[in-house]
Symmetry: C2
DNA sequence: CTGTTAGCGCTTTCAA
DNA sequence: TTGAAAGCGCTAACAG
């Protein structure tokens, strides 16, 4: 009965002809750009409905010079860490008319930079860069073409906003909590040495130790790659060194899950024998056994706020961003020493 | 020093002028459409490099009538279930020149349909529909505008491919495993009654019971909404009914995590007191304590295969899809009864 | 091998 | 209030 779409798509010109008006009139009605008389309006609206006309966004975009699309660069599309932030972005975009194209940098500076260029070539109207390894200067450079909001960096220009959480403070909170519980020998499962977050959290770990007049023992620090598997392996390595410790601070929740499994495999109870604390507060961290004590990062809010900021930047507003603070979530993997 | 981009973007025409050739020549070099003499090629390439020219994709798209973009409809952008599939899609798209815009239907037929229309208006070249609630007929209808590959449905037309996993068989595998271990009273934490996957898995559960001459007891079936929280609640409700059972089959892994926590809270050991099996095999399921026995769904492969199929459809090929089969992953949450 | 010439479908002056 | 006309930046016949 309908379905002219199956052939040549209906264009604005078709509608104009059908309604007996000029293309400009149809356009005006579509965009509410100018007043149009009642009868013409009616005729056009009828034609649009009958012909199932949908304006071709590609053409609109070319003409208007914007694509109503923003680019998102994540590092790992399947990571729960980014997933929460993406949800925030998704909500932030709701009702804005913008769609998002998500690309993945895979924690590789070169790939990341290529992806950004790709987004730029697609004429996205703005970019959200979640973490990543490219230099701040490169971000600033790209931002001269399109506004960029970045997480995990402190940059600022007319067209770029970066914000980062206070990793050192978060780590301080975590380790302080352990110390308050009476732990003295606290292991730290760190991230890669070249990871900025990891370095800052290590600094927080050290600061907490210092505060409590505890000595920093590099033997208690092992490295992981932020994934479960490597958390498990790191923990195993630590055990091989025969170090004594009563608590573990893991660089992030996923690593903590790996640590947890390593402990389980060895028959070590959590928190009875060893206390464990993570960092991030992933949605699943409330459902581990036992539920994980951790430092809550406002993942969702980060996405939401980044989006608001970017939309602001795009419309040329002056933007201020403030993020909710990091927060200690005491659950059930930590307890008093002894 | 450079940065003419900051002003008006460089166009193909600028390059042509700079290189002293016609725009078509530049276009030909860009697209490799025809042979171009060495000297002109060199001149153009130099100009492109010097001027930092990037072709405007919007214009290319309008001209070519395709957007080099595919649309992905997920139901929940932050769900680990979709995340794995998205990773498969991402890999499937690698090197194809296509980018993807991801939208979320939130398990709501209306919203889903709106999102599809939005993608269509954006002239995506194809759509991947992951699960969802819109009618098959609606999918087929949309597929007349653009090719669609859908998961969780059995549809097929010239421009639409749907494939679904054998949920009943998967559930059969799960429950048979439990029965083989000697369990006789097996609880089933189902999904919403209107969820097709859930109904099919219930059928598999019943079939396994029947095979073993075990009676189906509706009292042993409780409902959840596929999330951790509701798995926990469902389990709590089941305990209130004082039913006896030695094993639980959860509709999916996330629900199983909730069940696991409920059990932990009650001091019930897994698998010593009660065996637990899930469905999906999320990446995190290998890292729960103990690691979850479950039915492995080829999540990543689903994404990869769907993408290959869609790309095939777009290029007008005849496509056949075969998915890896469901598989029982015996880990550590199930053991012999008693 | 290369340039000229029309557009892709829409928006937006500019005049009327 | 409305229409004619001129593009947005690129590609693809069609000649030459």
């Amino acid at each position: 009965m309908e379905e002219n779409q199956i052939n040549r798509p209906v264009t604005l010109l078709d509608v104009a002809r059908e309604a007996g008006v000029s293309p400009s009139t149809v356009s005006r009605i579509l965009n509410g750009t100018a007043k149009v008389s009642q009868d013409k309006r009616k005729a056009v609206e009828t034609a649009i409905a009958e012909m199932h006309f949908e304006p071709n966004q590609l053409a609109q975009n070319l003409k208007k010079g914007c694509s109503m699309t923003i680019g998102i660069v994540v590092q790992d599309i399947s990571s729960p860490f980014f997933a929460e932030t993406l949800r925030g972005i998704d909500d932030g975009l709701k009702g804005s008319g913008y769609a998002s194209v998500i690309v993945s940098g895979h924690w590789n500076a070169q790939e990341e930079s290529d992806r950004v260029k790709l987004l730029l070539a697609r004429k996205v109207d703005g970019i959200i860069l979640l973490s990543g390894r490219i230099e701040d200067s490169a971000v600033l450079h790209f931002a001269r073409q399109r506004p960029i909001v970045a997480t995990g960096r402190s940059i600022r220009s007319d067209t770029a906003i970066g914000f980062k959480l206070d990793n050192e403070y978060g780590a301080l909170l975590a380790v302080r909590h352990l110390i308050d519980l009476g732990h003295r020998r606290i292991a730290f499962v760190a991230g890669p040495a070249d990871n900025a977050d990891s370095c800052e959290r290590l600094a927080g770990y050290k600061r907490a130790l210092l505060e409590a007049n505890l000595e920093f023992d590099p033997q208690l620090v092992v490295e992981s790659d932020l994934q479960e598997a490597s958390g498990l392996l790191a923990m195993n390595r630590l055990f091989e060194t025969k170090q004594q410790f009563s608590a573990v601070f893991a660089i992030n929740d996923q690593t903590a899950f790996g640590v947890r499994l390593s402990l389980y495999r060895k028959g070590i109870r959590v928190p009875d024998d060893i206390s464990l604390i993570g960092f991030d507060d992933l949605p699943s961290s409330s459902y581990t056994t036992p539920p994980l004590t951790t430092i809550r990062q406002p993942l969702y809010d980060t996405g939401l706020i980044a989006t608001t900021a970017l939309l602001g930047l795009i419309s040329g507003k002056k933007i201020d961003v403030t993020l909710p603070a990091l927060e200690l979530m005491v659950r059930e993997t930590t307890r008093l020493f002894r």
